[in-house]
Symmetry: C2
Subunit: 279 residues, 2 copies
C-alpha cells in the first residue's frame, strides 16, 4: 500500500498495482469528490488518465483524452486497466477500462476511455481562441453553492464571472454560457489529471439554459491538452479561467464546449462533452 497523500485530489488518484507493466491498477472512490449518485466525473476522467501516466511504457505527455461514462461507479474499490494499443515513434495510443465487481461478483465495465500521448516538439504556434477580457479573480466573489450531498464542489474555489447557477428556477434561461475563475480549494500545483478533472466542472448547461434543474449527467467527454510540463509548472497553484457553453439541446442530449486558460492567457485545454438530460 502506498502512503496516503495529503491533498484530497492526490488521495482520489491513488492507484495500487501488483504488476506495474501489466497496466492493471486498483483504486477506491473518493468521498471528497462525491457527486449525487457516484464520483464526480472529473475525478473518474483523472483516474483513467492517471493509470496511463503511471504505466512504465508511457511515451510523452497527454494530447487527447476521451472518457465514456457507461455507469455510475459505486462507492468502494475499482480496477483500472490501461493498455498501450499502439506505440509509434512520437505518439502512443491507449485504451482504458474501469471495472467494478457487480452484485454477483462478475466485474462490469463502468468506464471506457482512450488516451493519446505524444513527445511534443517545439513548432510554430498561435491561438485563434483568445481569453475573454474579464475582471481579475480577486475582484470576483467566491461561491460555494451546490446541491446537498455533493462534496466535490467544495474541493474547488470557484468565482463565476457570469453564468452562475440560477438563483431562481423560473424557466427563464436565455443562454448557456458560464465563465469563471477556478482552482483547487486547497492549493495544488496544476498537472494533467487536474486539467482533465477541471474540464468537467461545469454544472449542466441545460440547467442554465432553461433555469430548470432537470436530471442530467455527462455521457462522454473529450479533452485536448495544449501544453507540456513546463507550461503547467508556470501555472502552479494559480487560477484558471474556464468557459463553457452549450451548443445543441435535442431529444435527451446536449453538447457543450469548454476552454481552460491560465491566468496569463495561455489556452491550456479545450474540451467537449455530450450530456444526457430528462424531459
Amino acid at each position: 500500500m502506498t502512503q496516503q497523500p495529503q491533498h484530497p485530489f492526490d488521495r482520489a488518484l491513488v492507484l495500487d498495482h501488483s504488476d506495474l507493466r501489466a497496466g492493471l491498477f486498483t483504486g477506491t472512490t473518493s468521498p471528497d469528490y462525491w457527486n449525487m449518485i457516484g464520483p464526480f466525473g472529473g475525478t473518474t476522467a483523472a483516474v483513467a488518465l492517471q493509470a496511463v501516466l503511471r504505466h512504465p511504457d508511457l511515451l510523452g505527455t497527454p494530447i487527447a483524452l476521451t472518457v465514456n461514462y457507461a455507469a455510475a461507479l459505486e462507492a468502494g474499490a475499482f480496477d483500472v486497466q490501461a493498455t498501450p494499443a499502439r506505440t509509434n515513434r512520437s505518439t502512443q495510443h491507449w485504451t482504458v477500462q474501469i471495472t467494478q465487481a457487480g452484485a454477483e461478483g462478475a466485474p462490469h465495465v463502468t468506464t471506457t476511455a482512450t488516451v493519446v500521448t505524444a513527445a511534443r516538439r517545439e513548432t510554430w504556434g498561435t491561438t485563434d481562441l483568445a481569453m475573454p477580457e474579464v475582471p481579475a479573480p480577486e475582484a470576483v466573489e467566491r461561491v460555494t453553492i451546490g446541491p446537498r450531498g455533493v462534496a466535490w464542489i467544495g474541493q474547488y474555489e470557484m468565482r463565476p464571472v457570469s453564468g452562475g447557477i440560477p438563483a431562481r428556477w423560473d424557466g427563464g434561461g436565455e443562454h448557456s454560457e458560464t465563465r469563471l475563475w477556478v482552482r483547487d480549494a486547497t492549493p495544488r500545483p496544476l498537472d494533467f489529471p487536474a486539467l482533465a478533472a477541471m474540464s468537467d466542472l461545469f454544472y449542466p448547461r441545460v440547467w442554465l439554459r432553461r433555469a430548470t434543474p432537470v436530471p442530467a449527467g455527462t455521457v462522454s467527454i473529450t479533452t485536448y491538452f495544449h501544453v507540456g510540463m513546463d507550461e503547467l509548472a508556470e501555472v502552479g497553484t494559480g487560477h484558471l479561467f474556464a468557459r463553457a457553453t452549450g451548443q445543441q439541446f435535442r431529444n435527451g442530449f446536449f453538447d457543450q464546449t469548454a476552454q481552460l486558460w491560465s491566468r496569463a492567457g495561455v489556452l491550456l485545454a479545450t474540451s467537449s462533452q455530450i450530456v444526457y438530460f430528462k424531459e
Copy 2:
C-alpha cells in the same frame, strides 16, 4: 460475400463477417476514398461506426463517436472488432478496434474507437449555435482542388463560402475558419456513417492559418450526433452547411471544432479533432 453496392461510399463501408454476434468484421480500404498515405480518415471513422451499426445487439442510434488514428491503414484488407462494453436501459457503450496484419503477419492496431448509442426520447430542445447566414449553395462555386493523388476529395461536392484552400502559399494566413456547402458528389441519402465522414472533410486548419502546406494529420476526432433517423431522412441528398475553425496551435498539435447543419438550419452534428502538424 455481399454483392458490391453501387455508391462508392457504400462500397467503402462493406463489412463481411463469419459470426455477426461476435462483432468481428472484415473490410477493404477503398481506392475511391484514398488520401495521401492512407484512406481518408472520415471513411475510417465511418467504418468504425458501421461495425457498431451492423451489430445485432445494437441499442438505438449513435450519440457520440471518438476515433483515434493510431497508424495509417495500408491498402487492402482490415479487421474491425466492435464490442458492446456495457448496455444500459437506454444507452449502450461500445469499443472498436481496427487491425491489419503486419509485415510479420502479427495483427497490429491501426485505429481505436469508442461509440455511445442511445434510444432517444422526445424532450425539450433548442440550439445555442445557429447556422450562419450564407448564400444558397446554388450561388456558390463548386471547387475540386486538391493535392495530386488524393481521390476522396472528388467524392464530395464542395462549395466553399469562405476559407477555401489558399490560392497562394505565401505565409499570410490570418484566421482558420472554413465555411462550405457539401454533399456527396454522387447523390446518397444522408446516414450516420456519412455524417461521421463529413465531420472530417476539412483540410488542415494549419494550412489556412499559415498559408503554408506543412505535413499534418488527424490524431483523434470526436463527433456528437444530434438527430435521429427521421431528421436524417428529411435531409435526404440535400446540401449540408459545414463550418470548421482552429482553436489552439502549439508544439506539433492543433485542435479544431466543426459543425454540420442541414440546409434547413438543423444542427445535425458537432465535432472536434486534434491534429498533428510539423514545423
